[in-house]
């Protein structure tokens, strides 16, 4: 049994910033919770733009005769859709929104350690989003270089957005990275230095572990994107030849010469692959907590879950070149990167086993967050398994430029984390707003999103197998190469995509409708143990925890503890204050 003798606090009470006007309270706020909401709303707004772009692309692919958009616009939409979804939506949501909201609350801090820097981080992110968005309205429009922005074509004539779009994209990325770094410093240092008494690192919920490790990855990986963006800006604006080889454009010799496009690819993917885990690790953490809470059972293999998060994070830096098999590389390199790619599947699979074993004999509540978690597990498993195919050089080379890859990464990096984000919003919405989201609309949203996503991406695997190439604006004469079912499937996929899109509109309506008309949430409605639900007020106010910071006496997974009357024991409740079930003299000890 733990003793309740608690040492004097070594943490000085933080002098909280008190806003002096409406502007500093509601707009230029230094409260991490409001900053989180600002991050979330901005990310969703720009993410919605990317979603609408995908509808246009899908309609074009399914009904090419309508020519709803031009070839150039199609490439621009592909590029913007990809970059927005990966960087400006997913990264910003997981780290900026969830990180800001949950880290201080879950570790028992009043706020982030550097609130002013935190505020500047958000506004810098907003500037990055606006710079990117402005490119839609500049001469030539946004860049159509593909989300990987490979040189030399990214900055050459003939590529849409070559005039200003590519410059704005690169500048926007640099601004984003500067903004993220400010936020990232806050997340890491808050976790390390601002935890409340009794909150050891291993007592932190896995959500915090996931966000913390992803932030460390991002602090190491984003500089690679920064380096490549700056060097490409030099190539574009100052005519240097970092990445640009000798070229003839429209019969004219360009002044470039000797540069290496492959160097760009290495730098880009040194960022790009960890980026997958920058998104995935917070999702892993959140889903672990949600499954444990909604199955009323402690997470299976907690330590292994932490090790897997850290191990995946470390391994993610030595697999990057599996994105470059078709660029040509020494076979030994290919062998090395294929091997590391397969090795990273081990800790990842371990997590999947542990989620399933957590569910095993759990008291599973099929709440909406749990439905999204279950959806995540199978989707991530599907996407992960096709990743094992693509991790092998000889399988990747023929499949690389087909819809198989589109299906793979949308399953593993698109749908899977989005399901977690949605589940997390249903879970923490009562904490943020004090209201419950409407259950009926939520279930409709889940089933259409989940089933619809499978209707979109399962057929794409088949399209990839029969060789349908990705990035094509229309199949044209190449249709003769495929069965007619390919065109029919494209129509089917588009209809499914539009249905899933419609379900998201229902979700957005639900979020705004419930904020006003939703059922008032009872305190700690999911009966969770972690600290964010133990605040005196719900939603928590500025400073999070009343007069005194909570003291932590246990890990975050004391669910269905034998001997306890309730099926959960909050982290800030000492053993002496736990109500015992009948027939028990203390936790785990029955009367003899």
């Amino acid at each position: 049994m733990s003793e309740s003798i608690i040492p004097e606090s070594e943490l000085e009470e933080v002098e909280l910033y008190h806003p002096k006007s409406w502007w500093t309270e509601k707009v230029f706020s230094q409260d991490a919770k409001l900053i989180a909401i600002q991050y979330g709303l901005t990310a969703f707004a720009i993410g919605f733009v990317a979603l609408v772009l995908s509808w246009f692309m899908r309609i074009q692919i399914a009904f090419p005769e309508m020519a709803i958009i031009s070839e150039g616009t199609y490439y621009q939409f592909i590029t913007m859709h990809g970059m927005i979804m990966v960087v400006y939506l997913l990264t910003a949501l997981f780290l900026g929104a969830f990180g800001n909201y949950l880290i201080p609350l879950m570790v028992g801090a009043r706020d982030m350690v550097f609130p002013y820097l935190n505020m500047v981080s958000y506004w810098t992110y907003l500037v990055a989003v606006l710079v990117l968005f402005v490119s839609f309205f500049t001469p030539g429009g946004p860049t159509g270089a593909g989300w990987t922005l490979y040189p030399p074509q990214a900055i050459l004539g003939g590529t849409p957005g070559q005039e200003t779009g590519i410059v704005l994209m690169l500048v926007s990325l640099c601004i984003f990275i500067v903004g993220f770094t400010m936020g990232g410093l806050n997340y890491v240092i808050t976790v390390l230095q601002a935890r409340t008494r009794g909150m050891t690192l291993m007592r932190m919920p896995l959500t915090v572990w996931g966000i913390f490790t992803a932030t460390v990855l991002a602090l190491f990986a984003f500089p690679a994107l920064f380096v490549s963006a700056v060097m490409m800006l030099f190539d574009k604006l100052l005519m240097t030849s970092f990445f640009m080889p000798a070229l003839v454009e429209f019969g004219e010799n360009l002044s470039y010469g000797g540069g290496s496009p492959i160097l760009f690819q290495h730098l880009f993917w040194f960022f790009g692959h960890p980026e997958v885990y920058i998104v995935a690790l917070p999702a892993f953490g959140i889903v672990s907590d949600l499954i444990s809470i909604h199955a009323r059972k402690n997470i299976f293999g907690f330590r292994m879950m932490v090790w897997a998060i850290v191990g995946i994070g470390a391994l993610s830096f030595i697999v990057w070149a599996h994105h470059m098999y078709v660029s040509g590389m020494n076979p030994y390199f290919g062998f090395f990167f294929a091997t590391t790619t397969l090795i990273i599947a081990v800790p990842t699979a371990l997590k999947v086993y542990n989620w399933i074993l957590t569910l095993w004999k759990g008291n599973i509540h099929l709440t909406i967050p749990m439905l999204f978690c279950l959806g995540f597990i199978v989707t991530f498993l599907n996407g992960g398994l096709t990743g094992l195919f693509l991790g092998n050089v000889i399988v990747d080379v023929p499949l690389s430029d087909t819809y198989f890859v589109v299906a793979h990464f949308h399953m593993v990096m698109g749908i899977a984390p989005v399901l977690v984000i949605l589940g997390a919003i249903y879970h923490w919405y009562p904490l943020i707003t004090g209201k419950m989201l409407h259950d009926g609309m939520g279930r409709f949203h889940f089933w259409i999103t989940f089933v619809g996503s499978y209707l979109i991406y399962f057929p794409m695997h088949y399209l990839g197998f029969i060789g349908v190439p990705r990035r094509y604006y229309e199949m044209g004469q190449t249709e003769a190469l495929y069965t007619s079912s390919a065109a029919d499937l494209n129509v089917f996929i588009t209809i499914a995509a539009l249905a899933v899109g419609f379900a998201q509109l229902v979700f957005i309506y639900n979020v705004f409708w419930s904020a006003k008309n939703g059922k008032v949430a009872e305190k700690n409605p999911w009966k969770s143990t972690s600290l964010e639900w133990q605040t005196p007020e719900q939603p928590p106010i500025h400073g999070n925890f009343g007069k005194e910071l909570p003291v932590v006496y246990r890990w975050a997974y004391d669910y269905s503890v034998p001997g306890a009357e309730d099926d959960f024991i909050p982290q800030d409740v000492p053993n002496e204050k736990v109500k015992l079930a009948e027939g028990y003299t203390e936790l785990g000890v029955e009367k003899t």
Partner: protein, 206 residues
């Protein structure tokens, strides 16, 4: 406590709970600004390392030309070395409670840093006058890029230096955190000195 011993804890056991209940919640006793500086320096280190890797990677291609080495670079290196040394002397003077001397060294460090930046700009002018433009060869482009990036970091440092100079006038205050600020500023200068020396060595070796 090492990361391995932390990761091997079993937080659900009652034995571990007895230990964990006594935990203050902090991973280190370092003050927050010091942790922030160290984490920032790691990120900056990653940034410069990646530029250096790109530099070495690009060097392997046939069109690479050896960079000229204006003698002024040696002089500039000496200036930034002296600036770092002035910061060191400032921290030593503060330990001896000699505030006037501390402030003098602090001003000297700032002036030498400005001298270094000016010197680097003169090197740029010299290279341009020889026709070595940013687009002439990737080796020149890297030189301009890396030195510019280093100067930008120094300018960031000078902004912090201004705050430290301001604080030096209230150094006698009990509540003043001038000693910590000065110490962190000095560490940052030593870090940027190291970065410059590595970059300079790399430029010399090519």
């Amino acid at each position: 406590m090492s990361i391995f011993s932390i990761l091997s804890q079993k937080p659900w056991t009652s034995d571990q709970a007895k230990i964990d209940d006594k935990h203050s919640g902090k991973s280190s006793s370092m003050p927050l600004p010091r942790v922030a500086l160290y984490v920032s320096m790691v990120v900056m280190g990653v940034l410069f390392t990646l530029f250096s890797v790109a530099y070495i990677g690009r060097m392997a291609y046939g069109d690479w030309r050896v960079l000229p080495e204006p003698p002024l670079l040696w002089f500039n290196s000496l200036v930034i070395l002296m600036s770092s040394f002035a910061f060191h002397k400032a921290t030593l003077s503060l330990k001896e409670n000699n505030n006037r001397r501390t402030r003098e060294y602090l001003f000297l460090a700032g002036a030498l840093t400005l001298g270094f930046i000016t010197g680097q700009l003169f090197v740029w002018r010299e290279l341009v006058s020889f026709g070595y433009f940013v687009s002439t060869n990737p080796s020149y482009a890297f030189f301009y890029l890396l030195t510019a990036l280093h100067i930008l970091h120094l300018i960031g440092g000078l902004i912090a230096w201004l705050f430290v100079v301001y604080k030096s006038f209230t150094a006698e205050d009990e509540s003043s955190n001038f000693p910590l600020s000065l110490n962190l500023c000095a560490i940052y200068w030593h870090f940027l000195l190291m970065v410059w020396l590595i970059l300079f060595t790399m430029l010399l070796l090519t």
